[in-house]
């Protein structure tokens, strides 16, 4: 019997054999690993519920968010929640989160608020990614003084506490939801520019970029066809985490009266309107804040999961390293 020395040595791990026998794309591996993490699943569930609520808001919410219930139902201003299952008398109208200061159904307003928070998150991050990626790619690809100027401007932006800078920008542009979005977007541009620049710097030196150059491709084509797709992963991960902080910042701006204005059912603005009633009607502060927390938690958990799933350092033993 001939025994190959390699057979007895077990040099190749079972994981490696499995991967070698079944060719899988890196993205597929990453997605599989994402779904193996409990925290990421929790994040996905939270975001799924949030998206469903936002899409089906008119069916989920029992009332229109701006509908004043005076003369329609016998309810008091700022009445606490009345839930039939929890012992609220059946002859009184059910309001899961109570009634707000303008005699509107708080639950319906919180439900509609999910639309705003999703739009805020995606719009401001989308804006920041587009601008930040552009400048980061330019800085990384061209180098020299262009790189220096762009990155020093980014340094200055980073030297300000983000929320204060956002407040200042909104003060210049004027209060309002759109301007708050722009301000949050501008404040987060440096993060994307830095990540993109770093990615471009590493991809720039690869052979396939050199090949494109040799074939005579122009700079824009190289940037968009060769460099950008290879630098997307860190951007997606950062973007998911940044959506969480964008939602928090937008809520803070609205809370300070600089973002969404009443009667918009935006969570931060709802909280701000009722904050002086926290001792008498805590439910009007509690529920919008809880909604913000769960949304932000969802994006944070998903972002963490994506980061770990895409992290090449955790490629083999990754599943057991972090929770």
């Amino acid at each position: 019997m001939t025994v190959s020395p390699l057979d007895s040595l077990d040099l190749i791990s079972p994981e490696a054999t499995r991967l070698a026998s079944k060719p899988t794309s890196l993205t597929k591996i990453a997605i599989r690993r994402l779904f193996r993490r409990r925290s990421a699943i929790v994040g996905l569930i939270l975001l799924g519920v949030l998206s469903a609520t936002a899409i089906f808001a008119p069916w989920v919410a029992p009332y229109h968010p701006d509908q004043v219930l005076i003369g329609i139902e016998d309810v008091e201003r700022r009445a606490p929640p009345c839930i039939h299952l929890l012992g609220c008398p059946g002859d009184r109208p059910q309001h899961l989160m109570g009634i707000d200061g303008n005699v509107r159904d708080e639950f319906s307003r919180v439900v509609y608020g999910s639309r705003f928070s999703l739009v805020i998150g995606f719009a401001s991050v989308g804006f920041a990614i587009v601008i930040g990626t552009f400048f980061g790619a330019l800085a990384g690809y061209l180098g020299g003084w262009v790189d220096n100027v762009i990155m020093r401007v980014m340094d200055v932006l980073l030297a300000f506490p983000a929320l204060l800078l956002a407040i200042a920008i909104v003060a210049v542009l004027g209060p309002g939801l759109i301007n708050a979005l722009l301000a949050i977007g501008i404040v987060t541009i440096p993060a994307y520019a830095r990540v993109m620049r770093a990615s471009v710097l590493s991809v720039k030196e690869t052979n396939f970029v050199a090949a494109s150059q040799a074939l005579g491709a122009n700079m824009m084509r190289i940037l968009f066809r060769s460099v950008l797709p290879n630098a997307m992963t860190p951007l997606i991960v950062l973007g998911t985490l940044e959506i969480a902080s964008a939602i928090l910042s937008a809520a803070a701006l609205s809370f300070l009266g600089l973002g969404a204005q009443p009667p918009t059912p935006e969570w931060g603005s709802m909280l701000s309107t009722e904050r002086n009633q926290v001792f008498t009607s805590p439910h009007l502060v509690f529920f919008p804040g809880l909604a913000i927390t769960l949304t932000v938690l969802g994006f944070n958990l998903l972002g963490d999961g994506l980061r770990d799933a895409f992290d090449p350092r955790l490629a083999v033993k990754g599943e057991t390293v972090r929770v």
């Binding site: 030297a159 506490p161 929320l163 204060l164 407040i167 200042a168 928090l248 001792f279 958990l301």
Partner: protein, 359 residues
């Protein structure tokens, strides 16, 4: 070591100049003129003309910039347009409040965050670990203003008449006065003295002042008033510090030299605290420095909720009412504080990691 510090200080100068320019530009880019913003819609044109001339707002923009830079160099920030008082005086009154708040929040964050991270890493993949990280994830996801309001509700109202009651607003109870230490010890510093602002600044650090003057009832009262705002403000940095400590420590604990130390028979606790912790501390220190930015942003919100007259609140009010002198001075102080803290963080690297000194 000294050359490293000097180089580091010099490299922050361009950022500081940038901060000065941005501060100046932001204040002046605002649409609408400061006259109607401050004196109201009905201010007559002649009143406005006087007003604008008095604050030099009719000068060419470059002249205004020159005047601004000259004033900054002399630490003369002029008078607040809204309050008609020297900005430096307002800084002396308000900065100590924010310093006390930020420092106590940061202390709380470090004192809870680092041990939590260590415990989570040592009990890796156990229920303790999972619970800590779930708590940390919720901690970074809570809006500061919401947490502050809920804490005020729970500790200020629900726990009223229990020993756990904490005051939900203000800095010191009505009826208590903190006698400034320089008056108590008769240092003879009057409002005309050049040292007055410095002494006033330190006496407005209530905790410091009450310790120096030995006034324990005031000290206890001030600490109780600081408790809720600090708790609210500390959650986000606390959660970030705990997560960073855990992941950094886990990474270090996986290294060869740790296994070698364990193999030669060093006790686990000693390995963690003596061999691993110091090496794991580097990213944690970086995060602590960076979280100061979120502390200052959070200070705007915490000071609003808890009715504290600090820098954050003053800056917010000045930005929305276009009070240029306050915006410029306070932003500068905040950004300066940020730069200084990051400087301290960088210098602490040289202590934590000797390799940094050689670069």
């Amino acid at each position: 070591m000294i050359s490293f510090v000097i180089r580091r200080v010099l490299s922050s100068i361009p950022v500081l100049i940038g901060i000065l320019l941005v501060t100046f530009a932001l204040a002046r880019l605002s649409p609408g003129d400061p006259c109607t913003a401050l004196l109201g819609e009905h201010a007559s044109p002649s009143v406005c003309r006087d007003f604008i001339a008095r604050y030099g707002l009719d000068q060419p923009i470059l002249t205004q910039l020159g005047i601004f830079l000259g004033d900054v160099a002399r630490f003369d920030f002029g008078d607040s347009i809204r309050y008609q008082r020297p900005v430096s005086l307002m800084l002396v009154e308000r900065l100590p409040m924010t310093i006390e708040l930020s420092l106590s929040a940061l202390t709380l964050a470090v004192l809870v965050g680092i041990p939590a991270g260590i415990i989570a890493a040592m009990k890796h993949n156990t229920a303790t670990d999972v619970t800590t990280m779930v708590a940390a994830n919720i901690g970074v996801s809570m809006p500061v203003f919401w947490l502050g309001l809920m804490l005020a509700y729970v500790f200020g109202l629900l726990l009223r008449d229990t020993p756990l009651w904490l005051p939900p607003s203000g800095r010191i109870s009505a009826g208590l006065t903190a006698v400034p230490f320089y008056e108590m010890y008769g240092l003879g510093v009057g409002p005309s003295s050049p040292l007055y602002n410095v002494f006033e600044f330190f006496s407005n650090l209530y905790i410091f002042n009450s310790i120096i003057t030995g006034n324990l009832p005031v000290l206890w009262d001030v600490i109780k008033h600081l408790a809720l705002p600090s708790m609210a403000l500390s959650t986000i940095p606390m959660a970030i510090i705990a997560r960073m400590t855990r992941s950094s420590l886990l990474e270090v604990l996986g290294r060869e030299y740790i296994r070698a130390a364990r193999a030669k028979g060093v006790r686990r606790a000693k390995v963690v605290f003596k061999h691993a912790f110091r090496n794991a501390l580097l990213p944690v220190v970086t995060i602590i420095g960076l979280s100061l930015g979120s502390l200052l942003g959070g200070a705007v919100l915490t000071e609003t909720i808890f009715g504290l007259a600090g820098v954050g609140r003053a800056l917010f009010e000045a930005i929305t009412s276009r009070d240029y002198p306050i915006i410029q001075a306070f932003t500068l102080v905040v950004a300066l504080g940020y730069v200084i803290v990051n400087l301290i963080v960088d210098i602490s690297y040289t202590y934590l990691d000797p390799r940094v000194r050689l670069e």
